[in-house]
Amino acid sequence: MASPKRETDGNDGVSDGAGAEVAHGGAATGIAATSASSTMPDDLMIEILSRVPVKALMRFRCVSKYWNSFVFDPNLVKLHLQRSPRDKPILYTLSDYGEYDDDAHYLHCSSTQSLLENPNSVVGIDDDGVPVFANYDIVGVCNGLVCLSRIHTNLDEIWVRFWNPATRLSSEESPSCYIECGCANMAFGHDASTDTYKVVAAVLSDAKTHKIELIVHNLGDDCWREIRTTDADFPSEFRQTKGVFLNGTLNWVTVLGTGNSRSLVDFCFDLASETYTCFQLPNDVGEGFSELGAFGGCLCLSHIYHRESFAFWQMKEFGVYQSWTMLMNISYNYFEFPRYLIPRPLCLSEDGNILILVCHAEYQLVWCNRRHCQIEHFEIPHKWVSLKSTDYVQSLVLPYPTT
């Protein structure tokens, strides 16, 4: 039924300049040197290089054959990740929005401070943008690694690939998995207990019975595995398209139960144990649009009540229901965009007082200050802003397994 994707697409999905080097790139091996330098032990060299930016290290691969692979020494990658400045943690895509254009997406990063001080700076740094693979969607970002997904044009197959925009290295396509109606709610994260990157998808396996299956793909594996679920405590519907990675778990807004016992819950999947729990969302979150995000290291919930108000909650202590705190509740009367549009959080100040929202269709940024009860609107003409991570760091993490 599903024809092989390469034949039908005639496009391997690589856009110009996005991923110059795929999989196991590098020079041929010869008589190998046994250390990075004759004057400096490797462990000290790792200490030095862990303090050097990724771009310079990619250049230094040309120093010698040993350095070409030494730059990706697991100890260096790990130490570099720990030391990397987390000064521009907000990763988002910008795209020129034109009615008839193909959307070309560019990755940008920014600090919380510069966005809060000057919301217009969101579009002010064009030359920093890294083009995203054409026709791919960003599932999630973790430790500097981006997970991209693509659905077959027949809507019956999905596959992923991994990409590190700082090193510009990318993996090959993962095996694809069968889905119904192009329906897949995915999320991407890192299992620190085994140092494994995992992408999890809730897919509709049978459209007639609305049966949802949970499948997982480990970076480097050649398969998707099914996670055993029981009907009793498993959601009947995944509301959120892309789950949020936090504290070793992936989280989606889902619907649990049927009829009168229906409720919106956080479906929380633990990447280490591969088990799940459903957390209650704040009490008064009923029907309406709900979406989880990660801001200030905490799980946050945006909720639109009957297109009348926008509420923003923060779960101060992960997994503790009592710690849900409402930070803002803004009536649509204060917004300059129509009621059918949904604003999405882009950035939260450290003290939780200022929240910047993105409203897509009108290309607006909305700056909300809780302390001073102030709301301002900023026009960002012809640009489409979409938040991808609030925890971005430039890393050396390889998008494919080391051999």
Binding site: A28, S37, S38, M40, E47, I48, R51, A56, R59, S64
Partner: protein, 182 residues
């Protein structure tokens, strides 16, 4: 620090030593006087080139490898510690850096060889602050530099063929933008 992997026992031991030192102070009673006395105290270090140097206790305190011994032997002024991996020249540089409270300007005056030798010495003496300071200084020196500069800095022989290197440079061309003059 590199491969230090201190056992919790070692850390415990160090803590007891520190406590001992503090208690020693307290016996004197007058804190300010004790501080003054300790400040003036010196420890003799014998460097790799056979020079005996008297180093202030405040500086030696940062050398965790020596600190362990000082505590353990209840040292007096006659204590002499050989540091066979560090030359008198490098020890002088280290003293300057510690006294100068790790001023970036001081690091800029150091030659490439001095930077490397101080890093190795800081690792050997287990001087954590100095080690971080020098590793960062070296990282700052090389980060905007060319491949040739790095080879020269660390004394590395290029074992790529011309074709191999050209190919690798082409693949990573973006990483060669904005490089400083050597």
């Amino acid at each position: 620090m590199a491969e230090r992997g201190e056992s919790s026992e070692a850390v415990m031991l160090k803590k007891t030593e520190e406590e001992k030192l503090r208690k020693g102070k307290m016996i004197v009673g007058d804190e300010s006087k004790a501080g003054y006395e300790e400040e003036g105290k010196k420890v003799k270090l014998v460097t790799s080139d056979g020079v005996t140097m008297e180093v202030e206790i405040s500086i030696v305190k940062e050398m965790e490898i020596i600190q362990t011994f000082i505590g353990a032997t209840d040292t007096d002024d006659s204590f002499i510690f050989p540091i066979s991996n560090v030359s008198s020249h490098i020890l002088n540089q280290i003293i300057e850096l510690v006294k100068g409270e790790y001023d970036q300007e001081l690091a800029k005056k150091l030659s490439h060889d001095e930077l490397k030798e101080i890093l190795v010495a800081a690792n050997y003496l287990n001087m954590k602050t100095l080690f971080h300071f020098i590793a960062t200084a070296i990282a700052n020196v090389i980060q905007n530099k060319s491949v040739e500069f790095v080879r020269d800095f660390f004394g590395i022989v290029n074992d790529f063929t011309e074709e191999e290197e050209a190919e690798l440079r082409k693949t990573n061309a973006w990483a060669f933008e904005g490089v400083d003059e050597d």
